[in-house]
């Protein structure tokens, strides 16, 4: 490791140290142990910016840091891969972690929570794991920290462990993602066993190995390209679990049981992003498999629409945001699935910012509302908390995809990429159509949320006299609000297409043009591998305009509908007019029910049946052998009467029997 990158491990280690300090001596520190975390994440942020600058200066690193175990066959190790993608992600993760730490001073400390050292230790461990995941240079290391962020998520969702619901939600979150990780782990093992390497980058990466194996080798009885698809889909299991894609999305809404800053950090901006980030990280591998890409795209498009419809009928502000999160990750998956690597990453970064903003904004509202989360009990908060309102509004418009907020640019690029591929691929077109329809719903539920929360008349006592929020809450909101407004400037792709301006900065960044890059991990390398052809309606320019017009139009339509429907001081509950459709959406399409049934209605009775079988059949045989021996002994001992005469008679009989046997054998009787 050279130059600035010598300090790169510190980015990861700072939060670990903070975790250790808070865990051991947190209870003796002021502010419930918040300071080590703030300092550490601040340090990580600063160093991440340095790393980004280094990458901008044309450097990258791909270094081995620590070897778990090595043989000539394979090496299990931890390494550091800092390229444009991970550098960008590092900045975002450490920025949000830092802001969430600061915000927590208002949300947790000022509210007199107990167990704060545990809270900050959890945040520290989470930040450590997430950053380590981001810089991972191989799939095993990714898996390791993928699991660890799952643990932190469990601990933080279950932070209020004295309640009944929080531990249950924590359990569900871990279990559902574990189910996805089961496939992920098989994928890791399969990739390790077939290619002998787990590295993401370089000549010895599994991507390179797979590329050279295609058309020439078979693995475990499968052609190499089928095998790439199989293993790719196995790894995708973990992605679907962590990024809350259908059908493993059910844990995310429940995860809102955790403290709101945790929701912002983990369940919106970073951990949930881990899944999509993983797809981006090993995009070269997925690019080899058309089937895997199509699955990714379709799952993404479907999830985007599916979750958006549920978001429209929720009354709890955090639930709306939870479903919008699921929906937005669907867009990123769609982008990845259509080969829109840049669009996916762009939306990932933007979403991290504006969703963290929305959750922190919701957190501020919840503080103000004395921990009331039902939007129907809010209203009229606009005048009383302007900072929150305007930043929240910025985040909402970004989420809804209204020009010029950041979400518009990235979502538009996703849809554009999907459209040009979809014109020749019917399946992708279907995914595109679903995602496009979801834009309308997104606009609707976002504005509905803003309207109900901030506009109209206060609908409860709490809303009339909101609790004041402190400066530590306002600063993060303001910072993120500005970023949500200008974030789109990272990649103004339509302007580049239409006006020929060189403003697609992120595309060039991820492509390594003018900045550091790692061979094989660049946008054009991926584009060469992805097999999709592109078609246009009215040329590239026409398609850009058409796509942007469609998505903006639908977003505005949805937003406008919500704006009018929920206007006035006392808005009515319009969604109830949808009748059974609403019931279906409120019940989350019975997704929870069937998954709970799988656990409680199927697995548990099966387990009980096994237990009965074990106790009766298997143990029955064991005990049976014992009983038979005892019973036999009981009977046999009756031979021993204590009568000398009987013994003598037995001896005689024995001799006679012996004589007969010997006689028969000796042929005496013949």
């Amino acid at each position: 490791m050279e130059g600035l990158f010598t300090f790169a491990p510190a980015i990861v280690l700072f939060p670990l140290v903070a975790f250790a300090i808070t865990l051991l001596v947190g209870r003796y520190l002021p502010l419930g142990g918040a300071i080590p975390g703030i300092v550490a994440t601040g340090g990580s942020l600063a160093l991440s910016l340095v790393m980004a600058a280094a990458v901008a200066g044309g450097e990258t690193t791909n270094e081995l840091v620590y070897t778990w175990f090595e043989t000539p066959e394979i090496t299990f190790h931890f390494g550091l891969l800092i390229d444009p993608l991970s550098a960008a992600m590092l900045v975002v993760v450490s920025l949000i972690a830092f802001l969430v730490h600061v915000f927590s001073l208002s949300y947790m400390n000022a509210e007199g929570e107990t167990g704060l050292p545990r809270y900050y230790a959890g945040l520290g461990l989470f930040t450590f794991s997430m950053l380590a995941f981001v810089v991972a240079d191989n799939l095993l290391m990714s898996f390791v920290f993928f699991e660890l962020v799952g643990l932190c998520s469990f601990l933080l969702i279950g932070f209020w462990y004295r309640t009944k619901s929080a531990p249950s939600a924590a359990k569900k979150a871990f279990l559902v993602t574990r189910f996805g990780d089961f496939f992920f782990l098989i994928g890791v093992v399969a990739i390790a066993a077939s290619y002998g390497t787990l590295s993401f980058a370089g000549d010895a990466s599994f991507v390179t190995a797979a590329e050279s194996a295609i058309d020439s080798e078979t693995f475990f009885g499968f052609d190499a390209d089928t095998w790439v698809t199989i293993t790719g889909l196995l790894v995708l299991g973990g992605v679907i679990g962590k990024s809350a894609q259908f059908p493993l999305h059910t844990w995310l809404p429940d995860a809102m049981e955790g403290p709101t800053p945790v929701s912002a950090l983990i369940h919106a901006a970073t951990m949930v992003a881990a899944g999509v980030y993983l797809v981006a990280r090993m995009f070269g591998y997925y690019a080899l498999s058309p089937t895997a890409l199509a699955v990714i795209a379709f799952v993404g498009g479907f999830t985007a629409l599916f979750a958006a419809t549920m978001g429209c009928v929720k009354d709890d502000v955090k639930q709306v945001l939870a479903y919008s999160t699921i929906s937005q990750y669907g867009y990123m998956m769609l982008a990845m699935g259509v080969g829109g690597y840049v669009a996916g990453v762009f939306h990932l970064l933007n979403h991290a910012v504006f969703k963290a903003l929305l959750f922190l904004g919701a957190g501020a509202v919840i503080i103000a509302m004395h921990h009331e989360q039902d939007m129907w009990k809010m209203g009229g908060l606009k005048e009383q908390m302007p900072v929150t309102y305007y930043s929240f509004l910025a985040g909402s418009l970004a989420l809804a995809g209204i020009i010029p907020f950041s979400g518009f640019w990235s979502k538009d690029e996703v849809l554009y990429d999907a459209l040009i591929v979809g014109l020749s691929e019917p399946l992708i077109l279907a995914a595109y159509a679903m995602a496009l329809l979801a834009v309308f719903f997104t606009g609707f539920y976002t504005i509905r949320m803003v309207r109900l929360t901030f506009h109209g008349e206060p609908r409860s006592e709490a809303a009339e006299s909101p609790h004041a929020i402190g400066l530590p809450a306002k600063i993060p909101l303001a910072v993120l609000g500005v970023l949500a407004l200008v974030g789109g400037a990272m990649n103004l792709k339509p302007l580049e297409e239409l006006a020929g301006l060189e403003v697609a900065f992120l595309e060039r960044w991820l492509d390594g043009q003018g900045v550091g890059s790692v061979d094989g991990l660049t946008y054009h390398a991926y584009s060469e591998t992805v097999h999709y052809g592109h078609e246009y309606i009215g040329g590239p320019e026409g398609t850009v305009i058409l796509s942007a017009a469609l998505s903006l139009g639908l977003a505005l339509a949805g937003a406008g509908l919500a704006w009018t429907l929920y206007s006035g001081p006392e808005p009515t509950r319009h969604t109830e007019r949808l009748g059974s459709l609403r019931d279906l959406a409120v019940a989350n399409y019975y997704q929870d029910e069937y998954q709970v049934w799988l656990a409680r209605g199927l697995t548990l009775p099966l387990a009980r049946a096994s237990d009965r079988f074990d106790q009766t059949a298997i143990d029955g045989v064991v005990d049976g052998v014992g009983s038979v021996s005892r019973f036999g002994g009981e009977r046999l001992r009756r031979l021993q009467t204590g009568q000398v005469t009987d013994y003598a008679a037995l001896v005689i009989l024995g001799v006679l029997a012996l004589l007969v046997v010997l006689g028969i054998n000796g042929g005496w009787f013949l």
Binding site: V144, L151, F182, L185, V189, S610, G626
Partner: protein
């Protein structure tokens, strides 16, 4: 050196036995630190290489002396250590020390006898791992049962007699089978220029040099059938000890009735006797038969994993949950062994150590909860964390270790096994077996999370009316030590994994497998 190690423990056991009850616990703990120290010193001074039983293996701390003669066969005092046995020796000494510490609270009668027996178990366990002569090994193997029988039968729960007798008879019958099988093997290999002693290395090398001579006929079986029959009989004999489904039913009963420290030793080390013996005997001596029986063995390994986990899911007694999950974890060991690859066998051995630490920790944590609440039923408790935070969080940490959380030893063990098993060349359908077995990691998460949610989280409630106090230091300290070891092995598995694979690689290499 090994003689010193054993002598210290045997003498220590006798001394403790005679000591007054009042000081027996402290005395036993002090004594148990000696073997722990010696074994740790051995870890640093270890100079062996290769496998103890195979040619080219260099034993550490070897010593051999003639003992007596059975016909033409010599029996000797033959002890030594290699990379497989040394980690288990260290595990045994450390776990015994900690188990003694953790029994200060619950054991309140006949302490001197109790601690004397615990040390006596330790001595025999160490004997099992160091002995390299079959008869010597068998003496230790059997002698382990006696103190364990008394620990369960005297200090156990309400059904202790049933559990103790079941444990004793079941495992003893299994010992009979394996003894008969092994003696048959020795006699089949004996004769002109054949094996002339019960020394395991000699027997192993004879097996690798051609096995049972062609034309041998014993009990009407030819050489091939005889090898297969002996392999199966040995396997069954060890299967009870491991235990492998369907020979596992003594385990939950024994665990539930046993006092905490006995459970710790039972799960932590006694089960490893079975897997250790399987590795030493079946898998080292009979590679060809392993290949023949690979699919059935892999099948019961997978069944053990899934079925054991399903049984654990149905339990409401914390101890039964952990007991059944041991069945599940041992299934992974068998899967790793039968894969017959570097990472498979190495990972299986690593899992023995790792599971010893983790299950020991879990049983201690359950014990601490039980000491305070006098119940182990998940349904009787709720929100214990509020009253006993330290013990509860340690339980949670241990449970995540059990689930194979990365950076704890269980993950590395399981990952090695999975990786080793997936690419196995000896086992057909290896990816399928591995994939199904891996589903165990989901079920284990299911039942442990379920148990934790019910027991430790939620609003506080307790069916029994005991005052909950914070656990004393001598209850918590051993758990923290174990947790630290688990994390250290998880972060830096190479501390022992290199040593282990150094000893297990020759097993794979000797059968034409790829050597490292």
């Amino acid at each position: 050196m090994i003689e010193l190690l054993l002598a210290v423990v045997f003498v220590g056991a006798a001394v403790t036995f005679l000591a007054p009850n009042r000081i027996a616990g402290k005395l036993a703990f002090a004594i148990s630190l000696l073997p722990a120290g010696i074994s740790l010193w051995m870890l640093t001074a270890f100079d062996g290489s290769g496998n103890a039983l195979l040619s080219g293996g260099q034993l550490a701390f070897e010593s051999q002396a003639e003992w007596f003669q059975v016909g033409e066969y010599a029996v000797s005092w033959f002890v030594g250590l290699d990379g497989i046995s040394l980690p288990l020796v260290v595990l045994t000494t450390i776990l015994t020390s900690l188990a003694i510490l953790s029994s200060w609270t619950p054991i309140d009668e006949r302490q001197s006898q109790f601690y004397g027996l615990v040390l006596f178990i330790e001595a025999n366990l160490l004997g099992v791992f160091v002995a390299l002569d079959f008869l010597l090994w068998f003496v230790f193997w059997e002698a382990v049962l006696i103190p364990m029988y008394f620990l369960i039968g005297v200090w156990g729960g309400p059904r202790r007699k049933y559990a103790a007798i079941k444990f004793f008879v079941y495992t003893n019958v299994a010992s009979l089978v394996l003894f008969g099988a092994f003696v048959t093997l020795v006699f089949a290999l004996g004769g002109d220029g054949g094996v002339s002693s019960f020394a395991l290395p000699e027997i192993t090398q004879a097996m690798h040099a051609g096995g049972i001579p062609d034309g041998t006929s014993l009990f009407g079986l030819g050489a091939t059938e005889l090898s297969a029959a002996i392999f199966v009989a040995l396997f069954l004999g060890f299967a009870v000890k491991v235990p492998i489904v369907p020979f596992h039913t003594w385990l939950p009963d024994a665990h539930v009735e046993a006092p905490t420290p006995a459970s710790v030793l039972l799960a932590g080390v006694l089960l490893k006797m079975g897997t250790y013996a399987l590795l030493r005997f079946n898998f080292t001596m009979f590679p060809e038969q392993v290949e023949t029986f690979a699919i059935p063995i892999a099948a019961i390994a997978v069944i053990s994993v899934i079925y054991g986990a399903m049984l654990a899911l149905a339990q409401t007694d914390l101890k039964r949950i952990v007991a059944y999950s041991s069945v599940s974890s041992m299934g992974y060991v068998i899967l790793g062994l039968v894969a017959f690859t570097q990472f498979g066998i190495g990972g299986a051995t690593f899992q023995m150590v790792s599971h010893g630490l983790i299950s020991g920790l879990m049983f201690m944590a359950v014990g601490v909860v039980y000491n305070a609440t006098h119940t182990r039923m998940v349904t009787d408790m709720s929100g214990i964390t509020a009253k006993m935070p330290v013990a509860s969080w340690i339980f949670v940490a241990g449970a995540f270790g059990y689930m194979g959380l990365p950076l704890m030893s269980g993950f590395y063990a399981e990952f090695s096994i999975f990786y080793g098993a997936f690419g196995s060349e000896l086992l057909s359908y290896a990816p399928l077996f591995t994939g199904v077995a891996m589903f165990g990691i989901v079920i284990v998460a299911g039942y442990l999370l379920f148990a934790m949610q019910r027991t430790f989280f939620g609003p506080f409630a307790l069916e029994t009316d005991y005052e909950l106090d914070r656990a004393p230091l001598h209850d918590v300290a051993p758990m923290l030590v174990l947790l630290a070891l688990i994390v250290v092995l998880g972060v830096a598995p190479d501390t022992i994994f290199g040593m282990i694979t150094d000893a297990t690689d020759p097993i794979v290499a000797a059968y034409g497998g790829e050597a490292a």
